[in-house]
Structure formats: structure tokens, C-alpha cells
Symmetry: C2
DNA sequence: TGTTGTGAACCATTTCACAGCC
DNA sequence: GGCTGTGAAATGGTTCACAACA
């Protein structure tokens, strides 16, 4: 969902399909759980079940990374955890700033899973002078005036926008101007960014509307007499990696 | 079970592609903004720009809904707003419950865009007895014990899960048992649900990891020639080839 | 034997390009 | 002349099915 032309045409063998990239975090999470239970190896079938995908897809996904499995046996859990982490760039530290410390921004700052995987909240930024200095999740909020300096001092390349929609584009422009090249946008707006900058968006309202669409169709289904089909609707939204079937996961 | 011969006859005529459905909310938002500015008509080019897609895609998307445009002129804004709203099921009221009123759940409850389009927060539910009765966003929190009753009394078919990961599956099971057929999951877990139940997930950590992947790639771009780590690397070595820092994540 | 890795078939989505209509 | 609506081509992603191999 990057905007416009992102990075490079040089379609090297190094090119991992976007759909695969989007599933790697899912595999990683399932693998981490296995690792914590000291499970040494896992088959594609088991891991796929834990990640909620089918095994053929998982094997194909892994084949883009290399041949990390052992035929007749499966995959070494620790080894895969490391390889996927490395592929995702999680073996390095990613300082992140959150801009807009309202309800949502504060919730994000407090979100634990944030820090756990190489991401570190380097700074919180808000436009309200009254918030300046107040600690949220143990981190003092800084004023928007210092945005550029904060970005540069901390070497931030990933920014999270949790401002109201009206402020989002302006904040985005400043982040990009200061050197941020990846943005996670929670504001309900389409952001416009130059080439080379990635934007991903998270939008509650859109997700609900998509659910409503399917919900409405389910309701109308009983009355639609012509279809003999339908023991199951095309559930499951093949948009990203889907949340669908199985299982597990502690903490 | 998902593995059985699932030869499902494709749902024809009424079948709007999932990718199109996922973009309708985007179009709707852009159209609503135009409507508020009293713009009477838009071309596919203009609307596409506002929604952040290209115009061919937009026209193709609209063609699945019907022929709502006028050649040589464009689309009537009000008319399209209505058609898309109807298609998405937003002309009816959708009572929603939020389960798990922590930082995130409270932020969601306070989120304005929620109520704006047919979605109404019918109840807030939390497992902590100490929260019971306390108002969040003007709505009193109710205890999990009453979950089933709340769902039924309010005719809720959409549930939002904002609990810790460990509680999510159990909450999900109870929601589904009580009649919920669409779930928006904020907990970092793969939920298992029966056929006919839709799950969409929103996962901050996954989004960041996807960004990190691209970010890493950008960084490696200038200094090309990344060495290929491949099958020649001995397995069972959770250590990188060279001095790479192997970060195996903690909880 | 059991399970991976992968061509090849299949399916979905995007993009192109232009005919059709205002 | 301008803009929509849509076949057809191109691209991207998923699933099948089986050979390779520890």
C-alpha cells in the first residue's frame, strides 16, 4: 500500500512478493510462541495452522527466503525465527516517533508489543503546549515545534501519525521533510507522499464498513432463493494475510 | 476441515470483488468530503486522486456496482454517496460492542468516526470488576459475565476485541456463541472461528514489521551488493554468518 | 517414510486502450 | 471533446500435485 512508485525496478531474485512479506510477521509470531515452549522443529502443516494459513502457501512463502527446511523433518524453530527476523529487519533497532498524543496516541505509546520487536518509542510529539513535558507511558511529550530536531537527533525513520485527520497531511509533510521514510497512519485521511516513502494505514472505520458489507450480505442470504451454494460464503478476506482458522498463542 | 474438496462455485452476478469492497469506504469518504463542499459532480480522475487510487481502477470498481456515471460528465456526488452507503450496508444501524476496555478499548470507545457512519457503540465490556459501572466515553462499562445477555438484548452482530492476546480467543468464542458473526480483532492473535463468521484484524506490530522490511531494503539500496545468505549456511545455527546481532525476541 | 521445495495450473486484480455515449 | 464503461492483456498471488530427498 505504498504510494506511487516505491523502490526499485531491478527485479532481482531478491524480490519477495508483497503478500509474502505481509505474512512473515504472522509466521514469526507463531514461531516465537513455539520457541517459548521450547519446541525444536515444526512442520509446514503445523506452523501453517498456528498462523492461520494453508501449508502450501507457507512453504511457497518460505521458498522465497531460501531453503530453510529439512525434507521429511520440518523447520528448525530457532533458525527460522532468526532468519525471518533478519529478513524483516528486526535484528536492528528502529526508533519510532508517535505524533498526536490523544486517546489513541497514548494507547499506542502504552502498547507493549511495540517495544518487544525491535521497535522503540523514541519520542512522543503533540501540538498541545499543555501536554509538553507530561509523561505518557513514561515518556515526556514534546512539542511539535521541535519535530524536526527530534527526528534528526534520534535517527528516526519510522513515524506514527495519530493526530486528527485535519492535521495529518501537515504532520506527514514535516516528518518526511525531516527524513522519515516510513509512515504508519491512523488518521482517517489519504496521505500524499513523495516517491520512496512508504505509507501504511490503519483505519477502524474502514474495517467496520467492510465487515458491515459482509454482514449485510449474510442477512440477505436467506432470502436469496436462487443460490444453491452457500454452506459457506466466501468468508475470509483475502486482502492481506487473513485471520481465519486456527489457534494458539499465549501472552 | 478446510482442506476438504472445497470446490465452491464462484458466486456470480452479485459478487463484488473483495478488493473492490475494501476500497468502497475510501471512495465514500472522499465523496462525503466533496458533498460537504457541495460539489455536485466529480470525474473518475478527480475522485481517484482524492481517494489515492488510479482512475481506471476506480471506474472498474464502480462498474461492479452498476452504471452510476454519465459519460462526458462524471459522477453525481450525492447519488454515489447513497449508492455506496447502501452497498456497504451503512443505511442501517449497526450496534457494536467493544470487549476489553484498557487503553486501546477506551481509545476506540472515544473514537468519533465510529459513531459517524451507522455504527453505534451499544456496550463496553471488561473482565475487571473494578471497572464495572465506570463510564468510558459516556458509556458505563459492563462486566464480562453479562456478555451473552448484552449481545442478545442489543441485537449485536459486530464485536470488537481489544483484550490482551491471552483472552481474545475465549472472548471470541463467547461472542460467536452469543450470535456475533463479524469480529474486528485488535489482539495480536490468530482467532479461530466457525464458517460464516468474518474476522478482520488490526495489528500494529505487523504493520510496523512490514514497514521495517521496506525500510531495511531502502537502507541497503545505496550500498547495494548485499551478500546472499543461502542454503550453504549450516542449519541449526541460530547465529548469523558474521557479526550480525541475533536478536531473539523476548516476551 | 514424511515432508520440503517448486513448476505449472488456476484464479484474482490491475492496467491498458478504446468504443460508446453525452 | 470529454469521460465513462468494459473487453482484453498483463501482472500478481494461490493452490495443486509431485519429484526430490533427508
Amino acid at each position: 500500500m505504498a504510494t506511487g512508485r516505491t523502490h526499485r525496478p531491478a527485479t532481482r531474485s531478491r524480490g519477495i512478493p508483497e503478500a509474502t512479506v505481509a505474512r512473515l510477521p504472522l509466521y514469526l509470531r507463531a514461531l516465537t510462541a513455539l520457541s517459548e515452549r521450547s519446541v525444536p522443529t515444526v512442520s509446514s502443516e503445523e506452523l501453517a495452522a498456528a498462523a492461520g494459513v494453508n501449508s502450501a502457501k507457507l512453504r511457497k512463502d518460505f521458498s522465497y527466503l531460501g531453503s530453510y527446511g529439512t525434507r521429511g523433518v520440518g523447520y528448525d524453530v530457532e533458525y527460522l525465527v532468526y532468519q525471518i527476523s533478519r529478513e524483516l529487519g528486526l535484528t536492528q533497532d528502529w526508533p519510532v516517533v508517535i505524533v498526536g498524543i490523544g486517546n489513541l496516541g497514548a494507547a499506542l505509546a502504552n502498547y507493549g508489543g511495540f517495544a518487544s520487536r525491535g521497535f522503540r518509542v523514541a519520542a512522543l510529539i503533540d501540538a498541545d503546549p499543555a501536554m509538553a513535558g507530561k509523561p505518557v507511558a513514561g515518556i515526556p511529550v514534546q512539542h511539535t515545534d521541535d519535530l524536526e530536531k527530534i527526528i534528526k537527533d534520534n535517527g528516526v525513520s519510522i513515524g506514527v501519525i495519530a493526530t486528527p485527520a485535519g492535521a495529518a497531511q501537515q504532520v506527514c509533510d514535516r516528518l518526511v521533510g525531516a527524513g522519515v521514510t516510513s509512515i504508519l497512519n491512523f488518521a482517517p485521511t489519504v496521505l500524499s507522499v513523495p516517491d520512496g516513502v512508504d505509507v501504511r494505514k490503519v483505519d477502524l472505520s474502514i474495517e467496520l464498513q467492510i465487515l458491515a458489507f459482509h454482514e449485510q450480505r449474510k442477512a440477505g442470504e436467506e432470502t436469496a432463493g436462487e443460490e444453491a451454494v452457500t454452506a459457506s460464503v466466501p468468508k475470509n478476506t483475502p486482502k492481506g494475510p487473513d485471520g481465519d482458522v486456527p489457534v494458539v498463542m499465549p501472552a
